[in-house]
Symmetry: C2
Subunit: 254 residues, 2 copies
């Protein structure tokens, strides 16, 4: 068997998220259909982050195994030649059998963009809000999130049995030309976590709740304690890190 890794970008607007679902257009579905064509055999892919409907990715990482060899450069070229315009392969490389895009990942970075005013151009890439938010309060609220915490309060998937403990290494609001951006890095994220956090930060920025209330919501470990969930189209999976593994795959074609 040969094992491959792909770094991909996609515009989530017209996808029902990453994960294959019957009769739905998903990124995994499109990618696996092209891989099937290419290798004449059904191929199952694994992604670092199973993004929801409407969420974008600039640096999603995917792996798969196949019983036929392909030069990474040709694999990338063939896929880009057949994939729809809202999915692009930026890099392809051969990896060890042990590499798993999801479970080998040591860190993930997302960003969430909010733009102020009314916008038509670019409205699919940011949460467009009429009125500016109180950024200082939102920055203060973000400080309560960094470090290791149980994020049950900011997780919608109550049925999942996985741990909700995540180690947040970075959680910063910065200003952009048109608004503000949250950059958040962690070892892992639970489902809808970033959108739940952004929704609550925005409640802080509107003056609906105090910045310090975010600490109380977190400690309650109760989903109903958090505020609204931000819409998906402001969210981007920016980067996935693999620690030492990264160095071993030096032959990545970009």
């Amino acid at each position: 068997m040969w094992h491959y890794r792909l770094n991909i970008e996609y515009d989530g607007t017209d996808f029902k998220g990453w994960q294959v679902q019957p009769d739905q257009r998903t990124v995994q579905g499109e990618l696996e259909a092209r891989l099937h064509q290419l290798f004449s055999t059904a191929i199952r892919t694994t992604a670092a982050g199973r993004t929801d409907t409407g969420v974008h990715a600039l640096g999603q990482v995917v792996n798969f195994s196949v019983d036929r060899e392909s030069k990474p450069e040709e694999l990338k070229k063939s896929l880009n030649g057949t994939l729809p315009p809202d999915v692009v392969v930026h890099a392809a490389s051969e990896v060890d059998a042990e590499f798993n895009a999801r479970f080998s990942a040591t860190g993930r970075t997302y960003r969430y963009d909010i733009e102020y005013g009314h916008r038509a151009v670019g409205r699919a890439y940011a949460w467009v809000r009429q009125n500016p938010l109180m950024l200082d309060d939102m920055r203060h609220a973000a400080t309560h999130i960094t470090g290791e915490h149980d994020f049950t309060s900011f997780c919608v998937a109550a049925h999942e049995r996985e741990s909700r403990v995540c180690d947040i290494r970075k959680c910063d609001w910065s200003t952009t030309g048109e608004g503000i951006r949250l950059t958040i890095s962690a070892n892992r994220f639970v489902r809808s976590m970033v959108r739940s956090l952004v929704g609550t930060f925005v409640d802080v920025g509107r003056g609906f709740i105090e910045a310090d209330t975010v600490r109380d919501i977190l400690s309650k470990q109760d989903r109903s304690a958090a505020g609204t969930t931000a819409p998906p189209h402001g969210l981007f999976l920016v980067q996935v890190d693999y620690g030492d593994i990264e160095q071993r795959n030096a032959e990545t074609v970009t």
Copy 2:
């Protein structure tokens, strides 16, 4: 009669351009349908720039007259409440009967964005090209365009009887985070002129023609002398100027 001016933004992706056409979704069609609803009478609008299919506008200016008064602030609010998400009214104001968005304009500014690499996110807002272009040569070519010239060589509408003489006040290439941007200002533009110019500048940037050849193409006054036409989705109508009139409309609601 009351006379109004609107500053509007639109995402041209899903429009067959500005101008009303039977059975086609156009910006003018959407806007006039909403004005009809609002004032219960058919209203004809005039725009500063009749943008083509797929071309975007950040600062399009429109005017219309109606036999009923409306407060500009309410007009703006009502339109934004009913217009589709790809059209936004940024400002509304009452104007003199003499104001004509097209003929009163003293200057227009367009920009054209080119991004390098493969892109999925934002691909509707730039001409995405795999390989970087020779920017210095393109900048040199742009210097031949400034000033007053007959742009017949860069005009597709050979049947129009209007003059093709335009006074180019600015024609500059700058770098952006992801690629390069042409900013071009003139008293007026002829049809498809910016896209024809960009196509020819790109031919220079690829080394297909010399930068000085642009001067020769211009002087030939023959459309077949120019290069390819750049795709519409990188083009934005950024701003329209009205000289002294601008000052007279100080009550513009933004």
